[in-house]
Amino acid sequence: MGEELVDEGSPDENIKYTELFNEVLPHYLAIGMTIDEFWNGDPWLTVTYRKAWDIKRHNENFRAWLHNKYTMDAIACALHGSKQAPYPEEPYPLTKEDMARVQRRKIEERAKYLRAQAESSKRKKEARENGNN
C-alpha cells in the first residue's frame, strides 16, 4: 500500500477522475477511511491515512519480531537451562528511557553486590583479627 495506490505511469488522457477514485476507494476503506471522508472530506486526508497505515504496518512487523524473540528466549532457556540461557526477567526495553532505567538498575545491583562483598571481607578480616587476639 502507500504510493502504489495509483499507478502513475502512462496516464490515459480520457480517463475520468471519478473512475480512478472508485478504483482506489476499496484500498482506502481497507485502511480505515470512511466513504464520507473519501468523497466529502479534505482530499489530503488520504495522505494522512497512508502515513498512519505505514506506521501500523511497521508496528505490526515489530510486534511479530518481538514475539518471536521472546519465543526464541523461551526455547533457549528450555534447551540449555535457566543458568546458561536465562529467560528475561522483564520485557525488553523499547525506549531510550527504558534502556537507561535498566542500565541504572544493573549498576545499582552491581554496586550492592560489591558493597556486600566488601562488607563480608571486612567481617572476615575482623573475625581473623579477633581470633588472633
Binding site: V6, W39, N40, P43
Partner: protein, 107 residues
C-alpha cells in the same frame, strides 16, 4: 489541508471548495479538465458552479452565474480552482499536501 477560497458578492461571503464528490458531480455534468482550454465558455462557469456545492448546496445556478460574470481576475480564480480540482487526484499520488498555492485568500 483542504484549500478553500472566498468570494464576496453583494455583502455575502461564499466559501469555494472542491472535494472528490464535487469532481464526481462535475464529471457527470460533462466537465473535463483537458477541455478547459478548448471550451472555456462552457467549462469555466461549470467548474465555478461546482465549487459552490460543498458549502452552499442550495445555491441557484443563476446566482452563481451572476457572481461569475461580476468577478475580477477570472483567470487567477480559475487557475486556483483547477489547482483545487487536481488536488483531489494528487492527494492519492503524493506524499504530502502541504500547500504551495500561488493564489487565493484562504491558503
Amino acid at each position: 489541508m483542504a484549500k478553500t477560497l472566498t468570494v464576496s458578492y453583494k455583502g455575502e461571503d461564499y466559501t469555494l471548495e472542491i472535494n472528490r464528490k464535487t469532481v464526481e458531480f462535475l464529471e457527470q455534468q460533462g466537465f473535463v479538465v483537458k477541455d478547459l482550454a478548448d471550451k472555456p465558455a462552457t467549462m469555466t462557469p461549470l467548474l465555478f458552479y461546482g465549487a459552490f456545492r460543498k458549502n452552499h448546496p442550495g445555491i441557484k445556478r443563476k446566482v452563481v452565474e451572476e457572481i461569475f460574470d461580476n468577478l475580477e481576475n477570472k483567470d487567477g480564480l480559475i487557475e486556483a480552482l483547477i489547482e483545487m480540482y487536481v488536488d483531489t487526484l494528487d492527494s492519492l499520488l503524493t506524499g504530502s499536501g502541504e500547500g504551495n498555492a500561488k493564489w487565493g485568500k484562504n491558503w
